[in-house]
Amino acid sequence: MQAPMAENSNRTWGQLHAELWPGLVRALSAANGGYAHVEDAIQEAFAQALSGRAPAELRSPEAWLFTVALNELRRHRRRSTWSLRTAAEPAHADGIDEAIQRISVLRTLARLPARDRQLLVAKYYVGLTQNEIASAMGLRQGTVASAIARAARRFRDFENGEDQR
């Protein structure tokens, strides 16, 4: 029997594993710049949860799992041959313009410094709060907003640079 994830929730970590897996893989692959070790990091996060190391009250289990797995990835940081460029192939058939757009965004993201990438994904994809980002990434709370703004600016600079080529 699996322990419930939080006192006020009926969902077990097993159910969350099934529910949150795709989103966590995508978020962590994007933040990590590749798929390498992402699966292990997520499994480690769930293993910690199952060991009772998650806080009893969680604002968002996805945010907590993302943070734990991201820290795990940063500890075992490696480059992978499966980069975002490969992973960015369209997952489903849609308009060619949309597919190109998506790939372009992911390629730009992959070119950013790791911290910028992690900040943008944590903020805009996972939806971590500034407190959570500060704690996950070892930043002072007051600097999170400006760090995100800088990362976004760098993203656009890279993107514009690409467009000009």
Partner: protein, 193 residues
């Protein structure tokens, strides 16, 4: 500015949502990770201590320390192996010692010893060779520092048989066997002699 941020956010979400996801593996419980330990033929390790001290050098064993104390080879014979090369090179060198080996599924991080960054287990088709593992490091220097931690007389690990450690550039290969002649042969082959 707000509009731009929102636009960036939505573009990121759409782009990341389009990333394909590999099939989801089963949820790996802490208990299942512990069951994998015998694969490495390290017996008598308690789950709690094994997990808690996995990244440290000292593993507390339930049983007394095996009578080990094998001399470790510290030779460095190659000029840097990539992560993928290391496994195939070790398999090739084992073949020179007359042993066939193949990769095992991914090892749990709980098996990491000697400050290694990752571990690859090999199954050797010879019952005398137990728990062959390749500990990978970022550099030869890191592996050398790891090698200094492998002294079986200082580590409270319950080995299934006397352990041997061979450093080859940025990896350490460990295995256990009671056959000292075979151990010499394998050590020589791994060292490239």
């Amino acid at each position: 500015m707000k509009e731009t941020m929102d636009s960036l956010a939505s573009r990121l979400v759409v782009a990341i949502d389009g990333v394909p996801v590999p099939p989801r593996p089963d949820l790996r419980s802490p208990r299942r990770r512990a069951i994998l330990l015998p694969r490495l033929a390290l017996v008598g390790l308690s789950l709690t201590l094994g997990l808690a001290l996995a990244s440290a050098v000292v593993w507390q064993a339930i049983l007394p320390l095996a009578s080990a104390g094998q001399a470790a080879s510290r030779e460095s014979t190659t000029a840097g192996w990539s992560e993928t090369e290391a496994t195939s090179q070790v398999i090739a060198r084992l073949a020179r010692a007359g042993l066939s080996a193949r990769e095992q599924p991914a090892a749990p991080s709980a098996l990491l010893l000697f400050n290694a960054k990752s571990i690859q287990l090999l199954a050797v088709d010879d019952a005398r060779v137990l728990g062959l593992a390749i500990y990978r490091y970022g550099s030869s220097d890191e592996a050398r520092r790891g090698m200094a931690l492998t002294d079986p007389t200082k580590n409270q690990i319950e080995w299934a048989a006397p352990p041997y450690f061979v450093q080859v550039d940025d990896v350490i290969v460990s295995f256990a066997t009671s056959d000292s002649t075979l151990a010499q042969r394998v050590t020589a082959a791994l060292s490239g002699n």
